[in-house]
Amino acid sequence: MKTREFWVLFFPSLLVMGALLVLPLVRTVQWSFEQVRYGVPGEFVGLANFVEALTDVRFGRAVLFTVSVTVVTTIILLVGGYIIATAVNRLTITRPLVLGIMLVSYVLPNLVGAVAFSWLFDDSFGGLANRIIEAFTGNQVLWFTDQVPNGILVIANTVWSMIPFAMLIILAGLQGVPSELKEAARIDGASSFQTHLHVIIPTIRGVLGFVTLITIMDVLRMFDNLIPLSPQAQSIGNESIMLYVYSVAFADGAQRLGLGSAINVLTILLILIMLIPFIRGIFKEAKAER
């Protein structure tokens, strides 16, 4: 491709990315050092916003909760997604039907899905899951006011909404594994489990890395599903970082855009730290290709 041709094709993307990604990022970093209210020029306050965020116990709890949910969800999605993808890969005639049904939770808007999901655990709206649990255990679980059950509820909803994505990507990876490889493993006497562990998974590690990358980025930014699932998030310590940002920067007429920006900068750093292994992997692969 000629240089001129490259720039003609690339420039529109560069323009859009600059306007929608770079400019807001620059403004966020700028505001993180300022006290900002709507319609008024910001006032430079140095590191005050960062100090306030980092010394706020609530921010620490939000980070802990968000990272915990992210780690647990990512593990469940990888394992569950792989198992389901393997099962779906064996289907023939019914595969489109199964895939269609599974995609419902993925295509639903997050908030709508979370509201419907919360009703399964809410006696005011039938609480189907509660009835089943009560029938077996005789206990009432306080899904919305106890920290651990509520955390489980949030993780379950996140897994429910994201597992079709993980399954689809892994399924595509599985279909790319050469049958000769699996055949060779079987001839060498490998069990089914060993074939998965030593042949198939290493072959699709790039795909699994992609699923992990997207999952970490998505779950670290969780916000809207907590509105119905954790109405008392702040009080029970199940507030995500984004919910915390909304709460301190915008909710109830608050105008602390500087503090909100500082927390966002810290979140970006957190995401980068969590993605370091994957970013390193991408660089290594790029280097090897050269």
Binding site: R37, Y38, G39, L142, Q232, S235, G253, A254, Q255
Partner: protein, 435 residues
């Protein structure tokens, strides 16, 4: 035949998409409210096409007034634009639109609680001159004097009151009659009734109150303090969250907890309504705007079994009821570029006698003597309740203070913090706001 079959699928798909698109358009419409009407709206239109942006949250009590204004005051050249929004969204957008020299909205819905703060910051246009000019034409003097006072600050009127909401008790008449109970007039009577209902095995958690950890719970605490003649601040601006009344109010709220769902701090008003609809609660106290929903057969098979009473007092000797009088009204933001007289005319039309009459029973309009036992199923209860509500304490700090103390209040109600420690922390948080 093959051709027909070949074309049938895409045609069905196209028809389905068309139906979906049409229904989607209909879903965004804000007209057609059962309690809205058409009124005269005689303003002098500016030259050229004009759009008047209206900010008002959606609820069954506000929609009649908004819809009446939008449908009656829109002409070929002047379009009133109102997009659906919830209360939280309105709060955020109000802050944003009033921040700079230019704003998005030309008419905004306000309420008594925020008027002092917005007026102090000169974010709203004082309406006294326009009121004097147009009062006779729109019979504005018939708007309740106390509600006009509730929308005033420092002697100036900042909003035309449209409707008020006050706490009303809803209870299950069938359950109360069967057990020989009377509607409670005090918290002790509520507990006695709840105990009797529990003992009879009718339901486990007979009381449902909106104590969601948002404005709901702080409003409820304020209502409890109001019953004792106190508020978060005194009339002279002193924070009063470490007073005996503050403690008594908090303890009274805690005394109801054994009779409420353990997850009550996640209940907003719609969820309390749902408890009543489902028959899982026999008593609730909510703002009056939520009461009409209980009487609609489409919402619950128990719609015939709900009775209404004024809000109870904390104790028999308390001066007022457990109550908050919330007055909603229309204001003009300081940064609108449109003609203020035109905007005031639109607001006055929306609170005219005809519009107010049409809003009953969904709303309790600001015009005196409009709600009665005959035209509203909860009319008598609302009238009782409004008579027993403490007059609001006016302070520009109340709104911010309420946000600040809320997390501490929730901790106390959840049993994670003692009453004394909670009060000390709330007092400190309140003093930080009030200076």
């Amino acid at each position: 035949m093959v051709l027909i079959r070949y074309r049938a699928t895409p045609m069905i798909a196209l028809a389905a998409v068309g139906v979906l698109a049409l229904t989607s358009c209909g879903a965004g419409s804000r007209t057609g409210n059962a309690n809205a009407t058409t009124v005269s709206c005689g303003y002098t239109a500016p030259e050229g096409k004009t759009t008047v942006n209206v900010l008002a949250y959606n609820s069954s009590a506000i929609d009649p007034f908004t819809d009446t204004m939008v449908s009656s005051c829109s002409t070929d050249d002047v379009t009133l634009k109102h997009d659906p929004i919830d209360f939280g969204g309105q709060v955020t957008k109000t802050t944003a639109t009033l921040a700079g020299d230019t704003g998005t909205y030309d008419i905004i819905e306000t309420y008594g609680f925020v008027i002092p703060g917005l007026a102090e910051d000169e974010k709203l246009v004082p309406l006294d001159d326009l009121y004097d000019e147009l009062a006779e034409e729109y019979d504005l003097d018939a708007l309740s004097e106390s509600m006009r006072a509730g929308m005033s600050y420092d002697g100036k009127l900042y909003a035309l009151p449209m409707q008020a909401q006050m706490f009303v008790t809803a209870y299950r008449t069938d359950v109360f009659d069967d057990l020989g109970l009377k509607p409670p007039t005090t918290f002790d009577e509520m507990i006695t009734a709840a105990e009797a209902i529990k003992q009879a095995g009718v339901m486990e958690y007979p009381i449902a109150l909106p104590w969601l950890a948002t404005a709901d719970v702080s409003t409820s605490y304020q209502a409890a303090m109001n019953s004792l003649g106190a508020d978060f601040v005194s009339a002279d601006g002193e924070v009063t969250l470490d007073t005996p009344e503050a403690k008594q109010a908090l303890e009274a709220m805690l005394s109801l907890k054994p009779y409420m769902d353990p997850q009550v701090t996640t209940f907003d008003q719609p969820k309390v309504q749902q408890q009543m609809f489902n028959g899982t609660a026999a008593m609730s106290i909510m703002f009056s705007g939520r009461m009409n929903d209980l009487t609609l057969p489409a919402n619950s098979k128990l719609s015939d079994s709900f009775g209404f009473a004024g809000a109870p007092k904390l104790t028999a000797d308390a001066p007022y009821s457990y109550n908050r009088l919330s007055i909603d009204g229309w204001s003009i933001p300081f940064n609108t570029k449109l003609d203020k007289k035109m905007l005031f005319t639109m607001m006055a039309s929306a609170v005219s006698e005809k519009a107010s009459k049409a809003s009953v029973p969904a709303a309790y309009p600001a015009r005196a003597d409009m709600v009665t036992d005959e035209n509203s199923p909860y009319g008598a209860a609302a009238n009782d309740s409004i008579d027993s509500a403490m007059p609001p304490v006016v302070s520009p700090y109340l709104a911010d203070m309420t946000n600040e103390i809320r997390p501490i209040l929730v901790e106390v109600l959840n049993g994670n913090l003692s009453v004394d420690d909670g009060l000390a922390q709330m007092q400190s948080a309140g003093e930080k706001i009030a200076g």
